[in-house]
């Protein structure tokens, strides 16, 4: 009886956590601006057409990006946006 209760708790917790992850993604998606949504979808389409070694490389870059200090990430984002803006102006 105790064992089955324990297993039920584990299963319930797992399902809740899994559902929470999806809900969080869903919620985050809805909170994106139309421009950001468009960017995500375009990135996704490009991702689908990338060769597997490039996908692997991007995964590695993603891991590295996550490990960067937030301050540095903000700086790099800013630099990227500045360069994009300059390029669009030219």
């Amino acid at each position: 009886m105790k064992k089955s209760n324990f297993l039920a708790w584990i299963l319930g917790t797992f399902l809740l956590l899994a559902a929470q992850g999806t809900w969080a993604a869903d919620d985050n998606w809805r909170n994106l601006s139309p421009k950001e949504k468009d960017r995500v979808l375009r990135n996704y389409q490009r991702w689908q057409n990338l060769p597997s070694q490039d996908k692997q490389h991007l995964r590695e870059e993603w891991n590295r990006w996550q490990r960067l200090p937030e301050e540095k990430r903000d700086r790099l984002k800013q630099r990227y946006n500045d360069q994009r803006r300059d390029r669009d102006r030219d």
């Binding site: 969080a24 993604a25 869903d26 998606w29 994106l32 949504k37 960017r39 990006w65 700086r75």
Partner: protein
């Protein structure tokens, strides 16, 4: 030697009464009748003597110390108190709900939960534009995946951006850098 071999020879209709007599669990009238029979029947007297000799060996009485019974009593009372408290707590919560009100309460709670989950945080758009945005499941697997696709264009240029932050290097240094140069400019 088994117990059946050791015991034997009692009158069939007195066997059970003799055992009850031994344990002192016989009615007064029956006790007089059994004792009168014991006075007359050698076989039943032997059977009764065998019972007195053998039964204590089969089931020896274990004397437990008083401290054991004190602990036992305390633990039992504590468990009973806990049980009563728990029961009263539920009763006080749902005391006013009786009969059809309990299932009605459950149904309303479930409905409220479903509505709350669907609306989310101040987001009634779910009802207004259901599935209007067909998002590939791969993006929505989890939050991390969404963030990945949100930042992918920066990741492609990451090495290049970092290289620009460190002006010491001259141009791309690794395969990674060369990968990056194709995207930003």
């Amino acid at each position: 030697m088994t117990i059946n071999q050791a015991l034997g020879g009692a009158c069939k209709r007195y066997e059970e009464d003799l055992v009850l007599h031994y344990y002192g669990e016989i009615a007064e009238g029956e006790r007089v009748r059994v004792e009168r029979h014991l006075g007359e029947c050698d076989a039943c007297r032997r059977f009764s003597a065998d019972l007195r000799r053998l039964l204590p060996q089969i089931n020896p009485t274990q004397e437990l110390p008083n401290s054991f019974w004190d602990d036992y009593y305390r633990q039992t009372m504590a468990k009973l108190t806990q049980y009563e408290e728990k029961k009263n707590r539920w009763r006080s919560w749902f005391g006013s709900l009786s009969g059809w009100m309990m299932p009605a309460f459950g149904t309303v709670s479930a409905a409220v939960l479903v509505v709350a989950l669907m609306y989310g945080k101040d987001n009634p758009k779910v009802f207004v534009e259901p599935a209007a945005e067909r998002i590939p499941q791969e993006i929505m697997v989890d939050q991390n995946q969404l963030e990945f696709f949100k930042s992918m264009h920066i990741l492609e240029a990451l090495s290049n951006l970092e290289a620009q932050e460190e002006p010491k290097s001259d141009g791309p240094r690794t395969d990674r850098d060369q990968f990056a140069t194709g995207y930003i400019a």
